[in-house]
């Protein structure tokens, strides 16, 4: 396997007393979109700025394209301009005193390319992002979406080793965001770009990424494909951040043959735990699943993976119903298609999918 384009080894960054990045390690491979996903203030933007050389780490090692660009222990630090990166800022950072052409040409001018090369590459970059013909426009005369494209063209124009995108879509309106997301993905495939992407929007992360790194409080919670993280979140935080989750509290029980979680009201749900060693009989646990993995069924005899419940409120959302149901002393919010309709007070069964259940220590 080819060496990674970017490697983070145990990077630590402190601001005064706050540890913004706490021993983070990951690597980004050629041609993938690697997303840092987490709530605001979790350290993901700081991580990106560490890659760019806009911040200096306090510990660890950053290796970019086979070269150590930051290693405080060896007193090594390469300033941003020595790193051959492209970056799109959240604010786009389009220089207002320059035209579109000059904005995009800047990285080439810095590298003392000839005028002919500059003209050709800028033209190509602008065509790539769909801005052909706007090159003489003043940068401030552009719409938000156009500014974003200029920023992208500027970052792409000299074929950087890795493209850093800091919440590039967050300042666009919803419709434009969807379109740009699509285009970005297409562009990445076409040019086989390596992208490090930072966002707090789980939809963006899910749809764009090849791999996601969940960041919380400056620590990595999990790295995996969108599907892996969604289906098997390693931590409750990872699960919750990627969409709505249902949490049931209970007691872990085991016998020689089977394992189950006992919920209040004598309900028991069989579970398959791979690393069974981690739980002892009688341990308090949390059972986590997604609302869409719970089926609402008409009352009948309970199967082993089912518990009964009562509908407490029904909201009509047009294309579906949202049910507030009480099961095992917990209020759950579930959605269901319009095929069945249950009224308030109705007795129902909830069916769990054992393969979609995650178990965590309480």
């Amino acid at each position: 396997m080819a060496p990674p384009v970017l490697e983070f080894r145990n990077i630590v960054k402190r601001f005064d007393t706050v540890t913004a990045v706490d021993a983070i390690s990951f690597s980004v491979h050629r041609g993938e979109i690697f997303t840092l996903l987490g709530p605001s203030g979790c350290g993901k933007t700081t991580t990106l700025r560490l890659v760019a050389g806009l911040e200096e780490p306090d510990g660890g090692e950053i290796i970019l394209d086979g070269m150590t660009v930051a290693a405080p222990r060896q007193r090594t630090f390469a300033p941003p301009e020595k790193r051959r990166l492209g970056m799109v800022f959240q604010s786009y950072a389009i220089w207002p005193h320059l035209t579109v052409f000059e904005n995009v040409a800047f990285p080439l001018r810095v590298r003392r390319e000839s005028a002919v090369v500059i003209r050709e590459r800028v033209r190509q970059a602008l065509a790539t992002v769909g801005l052909a013909g706007l090159s003489e426009r003043g940068a401030t005369q552009l719409s938000g979406g156009q500014q974003q494209r200029v920023a992208l063209a500027r970052a792409l124009v000299y074929e950087p080793a890795i493209l850093l995108l800091d919440e590039p879509l967050s300042n666009l309106d919803a419709k434009l965001r969807e379109q740009m997301r699509f285009e970005l993905r297409a562009l990445q495939k076409k040019l086989s770009l390596t992208i490090l992407y930072v966002t707090h929007d789980q939809t963006e992360a899910m749809t764009l990424s090849d791999r996601i790194a969940m960041v919380n409080n400056g620590r990595l919670e999990q790295i995996g494909t969108p599907e892996e993280i969604y289906e098997n979140p390693a931590t409750p935080f990872a699960g919750q951040f990627l969409g709505r989750t249902i949490v049931l509290e209970g007691t872990f029980r085991r016998s020689a043959a089977e394992q189950w979680v006992e919920l209040s009201g004598q309900h028991r749900i069989p579970v398959r735990v791979n690393s069974t060693d981690s739980f002892v009989d009688g341990a308090l646990v949390r059972l986590i699943t997604r609302p869409e993995d719970i089926a609402i069924l008409p009352p009948d005899r309970l199967e082993p993976t089912q518990i009964d419940a009562t509908v407490e409120q029904v909201d009509y959302l047009g294309d579906r119903f949202e049910y507030y149901v009480r099961a095992a002393d917990t209020l759950l919010i579930l959605t269901a298609t319009k095929r069945h309709r249950y009224t308030i007070g109705a007795k129902v069964r909830l069916g769990f999918d054992p393969s979609r259940l995650s178990l965590y220590a309480h």
């Binding site: 806009l54 070269m67 301009e81 959240q90 950072a93 800047f106 810095v110 920023a151 500027r154 850093l164």
Partner: protein, 576 residues
């Protein structure tokens, strides 16, 4: 490929000492030398009984002598008294101007505001000369006219007096400075507050004095304190009008001490030190006060509205009053200054052939004049352009999150604020005399430019600082990531974006260098004498008409500069 990688690695390893760290240390060292050291020299010098350049003998004799001399205390007292006395009429007039321009439907408000800006830049020295020509008891035109009246037997006006000084100050920069500071404050006041009072049944004037002014009182008070402090630093008017009448303020007293034969450096520095302490306390209180009030002004700043108070028929009266004030206080004296520069003997209209070009010819054929003009233009150009480079970098370091010494640097940049021109000049004089720096700077235009540049430090640094904060860090960081070195992104990104600020402060510092008298007056030599000093020399040696001609010339240069600046679209307003 491999070869470049290793080469790059070496380069990276060497880069551990960050350029910003070097810049930061150099800047702190520079300001400690040119601002901190003069201050220390001033205070230390006040205990030094020997003359500068000789081995120091320390003692309290300077202080004892200075304070046993009743004129020292009275000079300090007079400084405070004069600054206070002229503050009250000035602040009332400035509030009225600002209110009329910003809050009422008076026609031509913007033009009036622009004239206030122009008036602010008219140097005070020629204006004072103009008032002398109008009010002098012997030949002053107004006195001559008044004496024609029956029942008037003695000259009614005398500029060489306490009230004469106060009067002249209500026509010089100080009052326009207040208007310039207050107009934006009035503009930001929400109209709803005034409208509520109108609905409650209050008349326009009642609203002004019962609602608007009290609401803005924190800002008005802040401007008053600032003006008071600036007033304490005044030198030119006091020198021209006070000295003949034996009225000394601390700055003219220091000038007197230094110009004495032999120069009384000890007494001068003792007096200066007392003043620095007093001023330091005042500025500290002012800063504390502003910090406490900031929230209040932010609240009033919300609900911005363009709705104006309707003055009805009075709006034309108001306009006429504003125009009249500007005309009488600035245009009238300037016109008579022009006439005066063409008169054989100023004020004597009935002698044969009263008008002559002799003074202008005299000035313009004087080789000293050309040397002075060259010196002035050189000094002002160096001051303005070096100031832009120095203070834009200083402000960059001050706002930079990476700089460790930022607070120290910012503090050093503020130091010249507590050093009025004459004291800064004195401190820098000590610096030059006591260090090898004298070989380059003592008595040269470089020394004058350095002193003037240091005196520009607080305002210029703050202007650039505000500019950087407004720009944000992204634009520069984007350039760095795109591959530009710091120097490249400074030249291609930061400086062009800060051009409006650089232009405005450059222009103001150029004008300031051209007109400043108190800062260079202790530092110049015959070779480096600037125009403003030549004007002073003409004026105090009885060649008032020549002084007038020079003053007009300087005023003309400044006015043209301001008009060109406005034409270039420089944001002169909002620049504090």
């Amino acid at each position: 490929m491999n070869v470049t990688a290793t080469a790059d690695k070496h380069f990276i390893a060497r880069l551990r000492v960050r350029p910003i760290r070097i810049a930061e240390v150099l800047l702190v060292a520079f300001f400690a030398l040119v601002a901190g050291l003069p201050l220390l020299f001033l205070i230390a010098g006040s205990f030094n009984l020997a003359t500068p350049g000789q081995s120091a003998v320390y003692g309290l004799a300077n202080w004892a002598r200075a304070f046993s001399d009743p004129t020292t205390i009275s000079a300090l007292w007079m400084s405070f008294l004069l600054s206070g006395a002229r503050l009250i009429p000035a602040i009332i007039i400035a509030v009225l101007f600002a209110w009329l321009i910003a809050r009422t439907d008076m026609p031509g408000g913007n033009t009036i505001e622009f004239f206030c800006w122009l008036a602010y830049f008219i140097p005070d020295f020629p204006l004072t000369l103009a008032w002398i020509l109008l009010l002098d008891p012997n030949y002053g035109l107004l006195n001559t006219v008044a004496l024609q009246l029956p029942f008037v037997h003695t000259a009614p006006f005398n500029p060489y007096s306490f009230w004469g000084i106060v009067w002249v100050h209500t026509s010089t920069g100080g009052i326009w400075f207040k208007v310039i500071l207050l107009t934006p404050v009035f503009r930001r006041l929400g109209a709803a507050l005034e409208e509520a009072a109108r609905v409650a049944g209050a008349k326009t004037t009642t609203v002004l004095w019962r609602v608007t002014v009290p609401l803005l009182s924190p800002m008005i008070l802040a401007v008053s304190v600032l003006s008071f402090i600036r007033g304490l630093q005044s030198f030119n008017t006091e020198l021209l009008l006070g000295t003949p009448a034996g009225i000394y303020v601390y700055s003219t007293r220091i000038y007197d001490y230094i110009r004495r034969e032999p120069a009384a450096y000890g007494e001068a520095t003792a007096l200066g030190s007392v003043f620095i302490v007093a001023l330091g306390i005042l500025l500290f209180l002012y800063w504390r006060f502003l910090r406490g009030k900031r929230r209040f002004t932010v609240v009033t700043g919300q609900g911005y509205s363009t709705a104006r108070v309707r003055l009805g028929r009075w709006r034309y009266v108001a306009l006429a009053a504003c125009v009249f004030y500007i005309a009488v206080m600035t245009l009238l004296p300037l016109i008579f200054l022009i006439i005066g520069s063409f008169m054989r003997r100023y004020g004597f209209f009935n002698i044969s052939a009263p008008f002559t070009l002799a003074h202008w010819r005299g000035v313009l054929s004087d080789p000293i004049f050309f040397l002075a003009l060259k010196n002035s233009l050189l000094i002002a150009t160096i001051t303005a352009s070096a100031g832009i480079v120095l203070y834009s970098i200083t402000a960059y370091v001050v706002v930079s999150r990476r700089a460790i010494l930022a607070p120290v640097l910012e503090g050093l940049c503020w130091l010249p604020h507590i050093l009025p021109g004459i004291l800064l000049g004195l401190g820098i004089l000590w610096l030059f005399l006591a260090t090898p720096l004298r070989f380059i700077f003592y008595g040269t235009i470089w020394g004058l430019a350095l002193a003037l540049m240091v005196s520009d430090s607080p305002v210029t640094t703050q202007a650039f600082r505000a500019g950087y904060l407004q720009l944000g860090a992204d634009l520069e960081e984007a350039a760095r990531v795109a591959g530009a070195s710091w120097g490249y992104s400074y030249r291609k990104i930061l400086l062009p974006l800060l051009a409006p600020i650089a232009g405005a402060v450059g222009l103001m510092n150029f004008g300031g260098a051209l007109t400043s008298i108190s800062t260079p007056v202790l530092l110049y030599s015959h070779q480096s004498r600037p125009l403003a000093i030549l004007m002073l020399e003409y004026s105090v040696t009885g060649e008032l008409e020549r002084g007038a001609a020079l003053g007009l010339l300087i005023t003309a240069i400044i006015s043209v500069m301001m008009l060109v600046g406005r034409r270039l679209g420089l944001q002169l307003s909002g620049q504090q």
